[in-house]
């Protein structure tokens, strides 16, 4: 589904390479976790996959279901089925949640050449999802993420995911700022959504989220490279000993 081959990425503003040769292959139905210390390039990877401005691709390719992902516009990637749950969901004052969701959904459908969903069907759909995620009507009426707590914002991201039905989901530090109950709720949303045709890339600093969203593969990222790949036990190892064992691996490749 997703093939990243020897990707090297620099910041546009300063000549600084953040991702220094990263390869990763994700098949349908797989859950991959990327763990790493702060500044290792995890969030840059998710931004580059989603198409955010401000980065220069120095080398490498990203192929998504046979098409060159790096050539596509941000909204085209979304319509192809790429979704990123933001670490810090953005507030949009004055724009109602419902309006935002419906605009997003119908924009994607239009790009894919599908018919737009009418108001009644849309409301039914979104209310069902909101109920599962314990998101109140009041929250749905508010402007996008405005006045929402950290937990509410993250649940809102999961709601958007469930509504837009992407095939490839990036969870960017979704666990940050969540208490245990909120993390369980979010994880349940993700697990209910997972299927044999959908893949996840879970980016996290801590292991605890991976107790709830169980990965097939765990990659340790240090200084812009994947330095170690293993199964879920690798995450437990990190939890016990920290990243210090891996920092050396990163440096060794210079």
């Amino acid at each position: 589904m997703l093939n990243i081959d020897d990707l090297k990425v620099s910041l546009e503003e300063e000549e600084k390479q953040i991702i220094k040769g990263l390869s990763l292959s994700i098949k349908p139905g797989e859950v991959h976790a990327i763990m790493g210390p702060n500044g290792s390039g995890k969030s840059t990877l998710s931004s580059v996959l989603a198409g955010k401005d401000g980065y220069i691709i120095d080398n490498g390719t990203v192929n998504f279901d046979g098409s060159d992902l790096l050539e596509a516009e941000v909204e085209e990637r979304a319509a192809l089925g790429i979704f990123m749950a933001f670490q810090y969901p953005i507030e949009i004052p004055g724009v109602g949640n419902m309006n935002f969701l419906r605009t997003a959904l119908n924009s994607q459908r239009k790009t894919r050449g599908q018919e737009e969903l009418n108001a009644a069907d849309f409301l039914k759909l979104v209310r069902g999802i909101a109920k599962d995620l314990e998101i109140s009507d009041e929250m749905m009426k508010r402007p996008v993420n405005v006045g929402a707590s950290g937990g509410e914002k993250k649940r809102n991201e999961i709601l958007q995911m469930c509504l837009l039905e992407p095939r490839f989901v990036i969870l960017d530090e979704t666990d940050s700022g969540l208490d245990v109950d909120a993390m369980k709720l979010v994880s349940r949303g993700v697990n209910n959504f997972s299927s044999s045709s959908r893949s996840f890339l879970v980016i996290t600093h801590y292991q605890r989220l991976l107790n709830y969203i169980v990965p097939d593969f765990v990659h340790i990222m240090v200084d812009g490279r994947i330095v170690k790949t293993g199964d879920k036990t690798l995450a437990l190892h990190v939890e016990e000993t920290g990243y210090k064992d891996f920092l050396q691996l990163g440096k060794g490749k210079h």
Binding site: A50, G51, K52, D53, E73, V74, E75, R77, A78, A79, F83, M84, F86, P89, I90, E91, I92, P93, G94, V95, G96, M98, N99, F100, R102, T103, A104, L105, N106, S107, Q108, T111, E116, A119, L123, K141, P143, Q160, L164
Partner: protein, 506 residues
Amino acid sequence: MTDNYEVRDVIDKETLSTVKSVGDTYKYGFSTDIETEYAPLGLNEDIVKLISKKNNEPKWMLDWRLKAFNRWKKLKQPDWALLKIPEIDFQDQYYYARPANMKEKPKSLDEVDPKLLETYSKLGIPLTEQKKLAGVIEENPEDKSENRRVAVDAVFDSVSVGTTFKEELKSAGVIFCSISEAIKEYPDLVKKYLGSVVPISDNFFACLNAAVFSDGSFVYIPKGVRCPMELSTYFRINAENTGQFERTLIIADDNSYVSYLEGCTAPQRDESQLHAAVVELVILDEAEIKYSTVQNWFPGDENGVGGIYNFVTKRADCRGRNSKVMWTQVETGSAITWKYPSCVLKGDNSSGEFYSIAITNNMQQADTGTKMIHLGKNTNSRIVSKGISAGKAQNTYRGLVQIGGRSQNSRNFTQCDSLLIGNKCGAHTVPYIEVNNSSARAEHEATTSKVDEDQLFYCMQRGIGEEDAVALIVNGFCKEVLQALPMEFAMEAQKLVAISLEGSVG
């Protein structure tokens, strides 16, 4: 459809699909091919007399005009606004134009030239009493709650071509007609109130208007009457090289209420055209007027060629106790806008509100805001201004809050937000606050921001294209003001916000 946000949701969807479907930025740029009768070029006493004669006016009206004309000759065009106004040759334009077949004003709508009716229907303003304004039915068929009707006075160049629902309004005691008709039919009311809010020599453009105004709307709501429907005037400039000078006078007598809408468009032409209107509102004890404008005059092309010069004086006089006025304006058109709808709060406990969206794109310039003059005790005013600049446009908010020595316990709140799109445009805020009273309180909040890259990225990651995302964010920025508009106008305004910002990103 029950909840309000669901209704709005449908509108926003409309907004976005309209943006997609409208290829040409200014969709009202067509002109109507109709035989037009002009007054001779230029301005002198004879022209003033001619306009008065065309309207069959009584002598007192002509005298009033001539007095204004003589004052105007001595006045100078104001130059204090933050505007670059090309020199206007007041002798090189026409001051009166009317469709030739309007010599005899049609007695009913059935007699109006089909070409004119067609023009208005193309603009979304059907001049028939069966239909509602601006295609509300087509756009929102599920919405039964908003089953309101709107009476329209249609002004084409210099004349009113027809007024709908006149009889029905009359039975409620409401007078709604063209001002030329009111001068003849209701001279006492006109004599009493005309010029009482905006005096003849108030300013250069108002004075010019007083001399040459050709038509406009007149409304009188009698004591204790709540006007049974929204009233509206739709101004259309069609003739070339012709100024439009209309005058609106609305009187809300004790304990009455009216909501009034005003819309404007003009054909796309290379020559700039002058529009200098005057609007006077008189609000007596316990009465309330809501006045909403969606101004969409042709803004000129992207190089600043052509467009309407919109120099307008609008003022509300809250004469009565507990009287209320609310101005809401959405200014998206015109090459140059010079406009400060004001509230004179004379009556004790009276209140004035001003909600404004001013959008300037390409080479447009706007210097707009309000004046809140507090004279009575316990008076309240509220100003919410949203300025949006894109392209190379300049957008200035200019507002005066004045609280007089005898205006005890009066309050003002001003919120003034500017949004910039791109880095070649400008936003300016010029507040004047004069408080001569220790019990008064005036608050002023101002912000300037840019359309946030993170907000755009967030929208686009969810699949929304860049222009739609900008429209969505800007509509959100304006929401407080859009909500102050009547439903029909809110829809139109949301579309306009999107359309007028086309091409502003990327």
